[in-house]
């Protein structure tokens, strides 16, 4: 048996920020596994290294993912965390809960798990932290019974997520919560049964503030925007001015395209809508006076991912504007991502994310083969090199031959 003291971790109960050590201790009151986890972690703190091993394959019937296998490296010393797998439960859109649902999550977890969770994982799931192989199926069965489903892991569509959107935010340009819910349900097979070269992620942000960090973190980023001019309420502008808010300095001067003019005499703010890139800045600082336009929808960007292997990629524009209405069941979007995934699945190497594949074979080929019309909005600027591929069958090659014959 190991020493139960955790002098190093105890240090992390001090200070004002809520302590995860306190949480672990709280769980340890009821769970031996949680107690042993504290021991393992204390040892990591002492030795400055982790003590977890690669996961073997663990899972539930009918699914290829949703559980991350984890084993401690000295099972004899720590028998209660010898197996310590995490279960990923697909969170509701926007991380909204009623307490009944939350309590249900806790109750089932109390029976089989460590009593520890992550609310939430970095992708979005409810992470149930630490259980035994033998309990996995039961855990899933009970959660399933209670109306929950597993999230993604492995080479599949990962658990989607979205910002609070129309649930609370005045900036939302489409219904992120519904889009996320509807589209996740559409792609249940892709989410639960790994089938691709690697993982693929979708995140839904209601506007260009991108509160889900989609552009940095999602293979497919859906960013709310509008097509027409933003709307300015001049009465509200006057009120901001009356309150000594520095409209010229804080709004106009910071507009990236200098398309806002403030007439300080008339106290009127006007926009040159053609030049506005819908960056959200002016709306952010004057939410009472400026609103998005009326013709709302989303920009679709693809290819985001973090560091491994080719270094981090951000998503880039492939559809400048798409309607995202529940009425048409998001058909246009679904159709697009199906084409994209199919292309990626066919061409991607093992562990090659969409962005890396596009980079490797070229954006042009991607657009042609996934049938996406090229537009200048896709690039910050055109190519600097003259290395253009020409479709050979569109040229008149009657004068040429690969055999060196003279022309």
């Amino acid at each position: 048996m190991t020493d139960k003291k955790t002098p190093l971790l105890d240090e992390l109960e001090k200070g004002k920020w809520p302590s995860f050590v306190t949480e672990m201790k709280r769980a340890a009151v009821k769970s031996e596994a949680a107690g042993e986890l504290l021991q393992v972690l204390e040892r990591s703190y002492r030795e400055r290294r982790g003590h977890w091993k690669h996961g073997g394959i663990v899972g539930v019937r009918g699914y290829g993912g949703g559980v991350i296998g984890r084993y401690v490296d000295e099972p004899e010393t720590y028998p209660n965390v010898a197996e310590f797998h995490t279960v990923r439960i697909n969170q509701p859109s926007g991380f909204f809960y009623n307490t009944k649902t939350l309590r249900t999550i806790c109750d089932i977890w109390a029976k089989y798990g460590s009593g520890l969770t992550n609310m939430h994982g970095s992708t979005g799931d409810v992470i149930l932290l630490g259980c035994k192989t033998e309990d996995i199926q039961t855990i899933f069965d009970e959660y399933s019974e209670a109306g929950f489903d597993l999230g993604g892991s492995g080479s599949c569509l990962r658990t989607t997520n979205c910002c609070v959107g129309p649930g609370r935010c005045e900036y939302a340009c489409y219904d992120t919560l519904e889009a996320c819910y509807n589209i996740t349900n559409e792609f249940m097979d892709e989410l639960h049964r790994p089938m691709w070269p690697y993982k693929s992620k979708i995140k839904f942000s209601g506007c260009a503030n991108d509160c889900t960090g989609a552009i940095a973190r999602a293979d497919i980023s859906v960013i709310g925007t509008w097509r027409d001019s933003l709307i300015i309420d001049q009465a509200a502008v006057k009120e901001y001015a009356a309150n000594q808010f520095d409209i010229q300095g804080q709004v106009c001067d910071k507009c990236p395209t200098s398309c806002l003019k403030f007439n300080s005499e008339a106290q009127e703010l006007t926009v040159n809508a053609d030049d506005c890139t819908r960056c959200m800045h002016c709306i952010n600082v004057m939410p009472k006076a400026i609103q998005a336009g009326k013709e709302k929808g989303a920009s679709i960007l693809v290819g985001g991912k973090s560091t491994i292997v080719q270094s981090a990629f951000m998503s880039s524009v492939i559809v400048p504007f798409m309607k995202m209405d529940a009425e048409n069941d998001y058909e246009e979007f679904k159709d697009l991502v199906r084409r994209i995934w199919e292309w990626w699945d066919e061409n991607g190497k093992s562990r090659e994310r969409l962005g890396e594949l596009i980079y490797r074979v070229g954006m042009g080929r991607f657009l042609r083969e996934a049938d996406i019309p090229p537009v200048p909005q896709m690039v910050f600027r055109p190519r600097a090199n003259p290395y253009v591929f020409w479709p050979q069958d569109e040229l008149d090659r009657s004068g040429t031959a690969l055999d060196g014959s003279k022309l």
């Binding site: 920020w17 509701p92 970095s122 399933s144 649930g167 609370r168 959200m280 491994i308 270094s311 190497k349």
Partner: protein, 352 residues
Amino acid sequence: MAKLDQGPPNYKEMLPPVILENYGKWKYHEIPQPGVLKHVAESGAALYSVRVGSPRLLSIDTISEVCDFADQYCEGYLRFTTRNNIEFLVSDEAKVNPLIDALTAKGYSVGGTGASISNVIHTQGWVHCHTPATDASGVVKAVMDDLYEYFTSMKLPAKLKMGLACCLNMCGSTHCSDIGIVGVHRTPPRIDHEKLRKTTEIPTLVASCPTGAIRPDPKNKSVIVNEDKCMYCGNCYTMSPAMEIYDPKNDGIAILIGGKVSNARTAPSFSRMVIPFLPNNPPRWPEVTEAIRSILELWIANARQGERLGEWVERIGWEKFFSLSGLPFSDMLIDDYIFARDTFRTSAGFKY
């Protein structure tokens, strides 16, 4: 038998009445005090969100406690943010301050809105993952304790978004954060040839190395690592348990700064490395907290109102940032990977 593919719970059942009634009809918001968002709908109705810091790693007991608060003050509704804070959704203005008082009394921290530091997006670390070069929760705790005043107030030049990833897989998405904390290894993997022969497909392992440092060793039915080419990313370890890479004496933390995700004003941008290595010094990682605090204070002292950390550095120039911060510059901070070229200063214009 479990129902397959039933999907996540329907969010509609999770929404309080005030949201159902004003769904998509929000007009504007205010931040009446740090940690409280007031969203006003076209109907005139108001929703108060009280934001509370969370260690993210939560026990079910704490979740129950949180539910108790929600039941008492929020008709049983709450949510989490994309940064793992808890938001109590209060529709009755009268309940806002009592809720805050009750929360405070129980040691909860209200804050994280507006020009503040919000929660740090982070990962598993030594708590659960097999590839970490540092812990996650512990570093976050140490950093947030140190910067606590900036969580509960809104006195920064702009929002500050931090991320921590315990290894180069960067699950914490530190690559586009105002401040990114990344666990890094510094020594090549150690090969357990026997284990390798049992567990690993050699071609896949060889292919996994970004720099081509691994080559097959057919004689030995194993692989050889060219130490000179290895930059310790650990991707080979992800592919094979026989490529152990943790190293207590040399693992630690790198600091990257100046990234952002929002499109407001400037395009999303990557964080850039300013400190290649700080030692793992648990339990409180003093070198890390100190480095972050001094970068933060430099930003506070020099940025214009509304200027995010990276916007400030880009305005003054990275060379100026190094001279102001006194951080040592070394060739390690100069990119030498695929997209390095565009980071080189192809211009005679710079500050001394």
